[in-house]
């Protein structure tokens, strides 16, 4: 099937889906607007939230709140996770002592840490950063460890014979493990985005998850769906942005 | 017009009876985003009942395409395929195919692979199916490996399973697409001998595609030489069954003068088409299609 035909079918399918949604809600009123408002109502709300405050912030303010916390947790996880992963790959004693515990702890869902985070840190942004950190650190560690152990040993030998010495790590091993690391960064970003939404449902005073939960409690479904739409779009944007970044940083590994 | 003018028609092929398999005016053009590629120009080929025809040619000459069209798996852009003078239609048990890389189902045991076609056909009792499979297992010397998965079998064994899977359906026509191309040299020689021996037992018509000139000469009653860009039949020659080496092993055959004369003749025709190929080398790499040894002094 040609690309043009695929695009056409896709467009028709999206239009039909929205059309059915519109007919079922706005025209035929098959479902209660409390359960599912019409797409028009959701779009209206989205436009309104652009400059009207809801729970103290516009939709932009809430988005910014979510993204800031998410980036902080994601970065912190990278700063801790990458050195840990590299150390576990590079040094046998470190791996033997840390890896089993790491495996043990990662079997606890990041979400299950939320109550603990609330007790320890309250509902401040540090609690949410902590949750994002827990969710994002695993892929950072795993991908940097896999990346380093996956480096062809011949490359390391070659670097040594060429006199790389201590620079083997920085000049050969790290660049060679970059594709794996970037893949891990992308997974970590996805996890972080998922985790921030969950954390905001339980411990927040701003953010898109906070908006979603509060709007559902006041049965304000248009706002709930508007928040979900923004969450989906941002998740998609973040994923594409990191894909693009991977292609720029490690162009030799297109399909990593 | 039934044949490109430069082709030399071998008189022995033009017998009066109805051919078992008749490929008439068949061509194939592949459409891609970068335009269309003609894989095969209008081609005619008749194969008589019980005949063993080998098709030899370089990478990109359309020999596999021709075989796939004959099997019904590929539809020709023009022309038609007849079996006993009737349109061949979709693929079916009258024509069995043995594929280049064996194409064994990895999740089925040897036995299950061999029985697959029987299960698809239906109408046979369980006992009858088991009996037919067991008979193939025995003739293909696979006893003891019935329950093995393809990944547990050697290349030669996998190939025997693939042949058994095709033969169990008792096909009228057997289509083989470089069946020995993926084997190592020793296994390959053994399989060539086995194929020659098997031939006398089989009562079916065989179309056999290969890139090995020796294989084509050793196995074929008739050799069809194809050339590339555009893919076409450039020559046909028949091999008399009177040659003594036909009943020997391929190792012995290769030291016979008559074998080597035939071999050189095929190489000459390949080379005539090959001068063009040197200029437009196949873009697809053709690792398994290229002739494996260069013509001596040509």
């Amino acid at each position: 099937m040609t690309g043009r035909r695929t695009a056409a079918i896709g467009a028709v399918s999206v239009l039909v889906a929205i059309g059915v949604w519109y007919l079922a809600t706005e025209r035929l009123e098959l479902v209660s607007p409390l359960a599912l408002p019409s797409p028009v109502a959701v779009a209206d709300r989205l436009v309104a939230l652009h400059d009207t405050a809801y729970l103290g912030e516009t939709i932009w303010g809430h988005t910014l709140a979510s993204i800031q916390v998410m980036f902080a947790g994601w970065l912190l996880a990278g700063v801790v996770g990458v050195p840990l992963g590299v150390a576990m790959a590079w040094s046998t004693p470190v791996r033997r002592l840390v890896y089993p515990t790491f495996q043990l702890l990662r079997s606890i869902s990041p979400i299950a840490w939320i109550p603990l985070a609330i007790i320890w840190l309250g509902i401040a942004s540090s609690a949410r950063i902590f949750i994002v950190f827990i969710a994002a650190v695993v892929p950072w560690v795993v991908s940097s460890m896999d990346g380093v152990t996956g480096v062809n040993p011949l490359l390391i030998k070659a670097a040594r014979t060429l006199g790389a010495g201590r620079r083997t790590m920085t000049d050969v091993v790290l660049p060679a493990s970059l594709p794996s690391l970037l893949a891990g960064a992308r997974i970590a970003m996805g996890n972080a985005w998922t985790a921030i939404i969950a954390a905001e449902l339980l411990a927040a005073t701003a953010g898109l998850g906070f908006v979603a939960l509060n709007s559902s409690r006041t049965l304000d479904t248009p706002t709930l769906l508007a928040a979900m739409a923004v969450i989906g779009l941002l998740g998609m944007l973040l994923s594409y942005a990191l894909q693009w970044l991977s292609a720029v940083l490690a162009p030799w590994a297109r399909k990593a | 017009m039934r044949r490109p003018t430069e082709t030399v028609r071998d008189p022995s092929a033009a017998t009066g009876s109805t051919p078992k398999l008749s490929i008439q005016d068949v061509s194939k053009t592949f459409e891609s985003s970068r335009g269309s590629v003609q894989a095969l120009t209008a081609t005619d080929l008749d194969v008589q009942e019980g005949e063993f025809v080998t098709i030899v040619g370089p990478s990109g000459c359309g020999k596999s395409t021709l075989l796939m069209i004959a099997s019904g798996l590929e539809t020709p852009s023009s022309g038609r395929v007849l079996i006993d003078d009737d349109p061949a239609g979709p693929p079916g048990p009258r024509r069995s195919v043995v594929f280049q890389q064996f194409a064994l189902f990895p999740h089925m045991t040897a036995e299950q692979n061999i029985g697959f076609g029987l299960r698809m056909r239906g109408g046979l009792t369980r006992a009858r199916k088991q009996e037919l499979v067991a008979a193939q297992v025995e003739t293909m010397r696979l006893t003891g490996f019935e329950k093995a998965y393809p990944s547990e079998l050697s290349g030669g064994m996998q190939q025997r399973v693939a042949i058994a899977r095709a033969l169990v359906l008792d096909p009228e026509i057997l289509l083989m697409d470089e069946p020995f191309g993926a084997l190592d040299a020793q296994t390959r020689t053994a399989m060539q001998d086995e194929m020659a021996a098997m031939r006398s037992r089989l009562n079916c018509t065989i179309l056999f595609v290969t890139h090995s000139v020796e294989e084509a000469v050793f196995l074929g009653d008739r050799i069809v030489v194809m050339s590339a860009r555009p893919g076409r039949i450039s020559h046909e020659l028949s091999v008399s069954s009177d040659f003594e080496w036909k009943r020997h092993q391929i190792e012995h055959a290769m030291s016979e003068r008559s074998f080597n004369e035939l071999r050189e003749e095929v190489w000459r025709h390949l080379h005539a088409g090959g001068t063009r190929r040197a200029v437009h080398d196949a873009p697809d790499g053709g690792h398994d299609d290229a002739p494996d040894d260069a013509p001596g002094g040509g």
Partner: protein
């Protein structure tokens, strides 16, 4: 986790497998002992009640197994969670494989569904929790719906990848042996894709489990997630930690069971992997 394991195996290569396993177990024990020691120090150095020590958590774990908290014992909460997880996961596995197969096999279905699916899968499952509660109330079924939403996409994607990766030669072989389209899909395409499908199933298992915990935290009336949020509301860190231990163990057991099933179903492939 295959790479570091492979590295360990490579480094202990001179040992027999049994002795290598024993040595790995010793190191794992050392690692856990070190962790427990650090935990103990942390509880000693922090304010009373903020970080309970491992012994207190173990005791509470045992008490929770016999004495009900938030109406059920700990095993009761675990079973309650598992039953909802099971319903959501089963639907996700069945419908996910079916959708994945159709996406892989039919270009038209793929073209029509992909844009909608691609957008919806970027909405984290947790974001659906408020909507699910709105639709189905705080009932069992809303948690099962969240499990389904979390587990469905990985199954669909991996099945589609598996189908796309099936060697076209196998399809030709099936066709030439007389298999129609439906039988080619059920007897060749689906079983050959099983290893890929299981990659997705494994992700679905843990995604679903995580989403269930979240749903129970927010709108649960029972289950391990509900247990730990109740622990938090009564400011009892020991109960929270005991619940977290239960969540970790249950998650690991379920993952292990699914892995076992996956290895059994793909036995034909394993031999080829070790051979190559």
């Amino acid at each position: 986790m295959t790479a570091p394991e492979a590295a360990t195996v490579a480094r202990t290569g001179s040992l027999t497998p049994a002795r290598a396993t024993a040595r790995n177990a010793q190191w794992a024990a050392a690692s856990v002992a070190l962790f427990v020691a650090l935990w103990w120090l942390a509880s000693a150095w922090t304010t009373e009640g903020l970080v309970p020590n491992p012994w207190e958590v173990a005791q509470t774990f045992w008490e929770l197994c016999t004495t009900p908290f938030a109406e059920l014992t700990l095993p009761g909460h675990v079973l309650s969670s598992l039953s909802r997880w099971g319903v959501g996961f089963a639907w996700a596995a069945v419908l996910g494989v079916l959708l994945g197969l159709s996406l892989g096999a039919f270009a038209t279905v793929r073209a029509a569904v992909t844009p909608i699916f691609e957008f919806l899968r970027y909405i984290p499952p947790f974001a659906w929790i408020p909507l699910a509660v709105l639709w189905l109330g705080a009932a069992q079924s809303s948690a099962a719906l969240i499990v389904f939403i979390a587990a469905f996409p990985p199954v669909v994607i991996s099945t589609q990848v598996g189908v796309a990766g099936v060697d076209p030669a196998l399809l030709r072989a099936a066709r030439s042996l007389g298999a129609g389209r439906l039988r080619t899909i059920t007897q060749i395409v689906a079983p050959v894709s099983v290893p890929e499908i299981f990659t997705g199933i494994r992700i679905a298992v843990s995604n679903g489990w995580m989403a269930l915990i979240a749903a129970e935290l927010i709108s649960g009336t029972e289950g391990v997630g509900f247990l730990i949020i109740q622990g938090q509301e009564s400011n009892n860190v020991t109960i929270v930690m005991a619940g977290m231990v239960a969540i970790g163990i249950t998650g690991a057991v379920v993952t292990g069971a699914v892995n076992l099933l996956g290895t059994r179903l793909t036995r034909w492939r394993k031999t080829s992997e070790t051979a190559n």
